[in-house]
Symmetry: C2
Subunit: 229 residues, 2 copies
DNA sequence: CCAAAAGTGTTCGGGGTACACCCATGG
DNA sequence: CCATGGGTGTACCCCGAACACTTTTGG
């Protein structure tokens, strides 16, 4: 055996991140404005190349850390994208991941690669470079179906939250209305959340109870039903 | 810019296939017995390296064609596997795909890379090389959840099939019993199938009606419910 | 006539949906 | 005391689950 494997020509491997954040009843995605060609001055998903020794998650955290200052977030692999024309520099395969974060926890910083880092409402996305629109759309679709049966919504909220806040989050992501009382019953019956006994103070009306996520809860132990349109 | 992208060191990219076939009330997976190191004489999933100009599906079809003589089958991307130790030859990323085929349609041939090509009952799998057991298990899990809401079962059957055959397929894959009458009603109500008006001949009992898949049927237009264990 | 599998309808119960009133708080 | 949003209970209906008898065919 003459050559080592990596000495053959191989496509490059990039990891691209769809970072979802939720704030003010708005679901947003974090985009970078590129300082370099290709797609200079275009908005793109944060991404980076996989290093030889790195895992995908390793790359994800490197991107999150250096470009946005984040760590310890929910990450899930989305899909791998192989369109031969997706990167004008050559053959690049992209492994898409999506992240769910609470923007309040982090100070977003513009890294060295980007002019600017900004949250965009998922309904007001700019034109994206590469095939990032495809990646974004798949991620959004995945998130929408995932929150129906997997308790991931809390990743986007503060550690303590009210049922109403969780309810609004679901309505925002699913773009529909959900009966408030039925939602509450289902979430409580499924033990999605644990009542902390504390209340949110300082409001001009009744103080809602604060809950935290029940970490023992398993996937598929509840099911939110929505009119599929 | 001095170097072209692919001249940097990159991990190799392999595509590994979990090929499901159904026959005699048994769900099987096609495995190759390797002629070469690593994992010489071990059973593995069919796979191959992505060529620079190739798409993932291109690689899939190349593998299917050269190793098994198949084409025109259902293929879906499963997941990408990045465990740094998964291939003893060096850093190899694997993109997993799974295929659903009707074994009756093809003559399986042992290609030049393999000692042997064989179907294995999913419940009687041998020890697999690389991380192929992980890939296989994820594929099986995906198939089990997919047939509940996406009409893919027919991919494993002949073009014309009876409701009973479809019913047995579901019971076999899901490893459970499903009420025959409720299943039939649900499949017919959802217009999963179209009655061809012909009947299966030559049986010693009542001749069942033959159906074909309704190609207009969309995902999520039905839902099989099963006791989740 | 018998064995074997195909085909068909009805009943019952649980869960999902729809819906309205009282409560707590700050101003 | 009023405005605002939080918290709670019930009735109905639909869908899913359970279930048994008749029909067709070959031998």
């Amino acid at each position: 055996m003459a050559k080592l494997f990596h000495e053959y020509k191989n496509p490059s491997l990039a990891v691209d991140l769809v970072i979802f954040g939720y704030h003010d009843n708005t679901l947003s995605v974090l985009l970078l404005n590129r300082k370099e060609e290709p797609f200079k001055d275009c908005w793109t998903l944060p991404g980076g190349f996989l290093q030889m020794e790195e895992t995908f998650l390793g790359t994800c955290y490197r991107i999150l850390k250096t470009k946005t200052g984040m760590d310890d977030v929910f990450l899930e692999q989305l899909y791998s994208f192989d369109n031969p024309g997706r990167d004008p520099r050559g053959r690049v395969i992209a492994v898409g991941y999506y992240a769910l974060i609470n923007p309040a926890r982090f100070n977003i910083i513009a890294g060295s690669m980007a002019n600017d880092v900004k949250w965009f409402d998922v309904h007001k996305m700019p034109k994206l470079g590469f095939d990032h629109r495809d990646i974004f759309q798949l991620a959004l679709q995945r998130l929408k179906s995932k929150i129906l049966y997997d308790p991931v919504g809390f990743e986007l909220l503060d550690e303590l939250f009210t049922i109403t806040e969780l309810h609004e989050l679901y309505e925002c992501i699913l773009e529909t209305t959900i009966d408030r009382r039925n939602f509450r019953r289902k979430i409580l019956d499924a033990e999605y959340v644990i009542n902390t006994g504390t209340k949110r103070e300082g409001l001009q009306n009744r103080h809602p109870e604060l809950y935290k996520f029940n970490k023992k809860l398993k996937k598929n132990s509840f099911q939110i039903n929505v009119n599929v349109s």
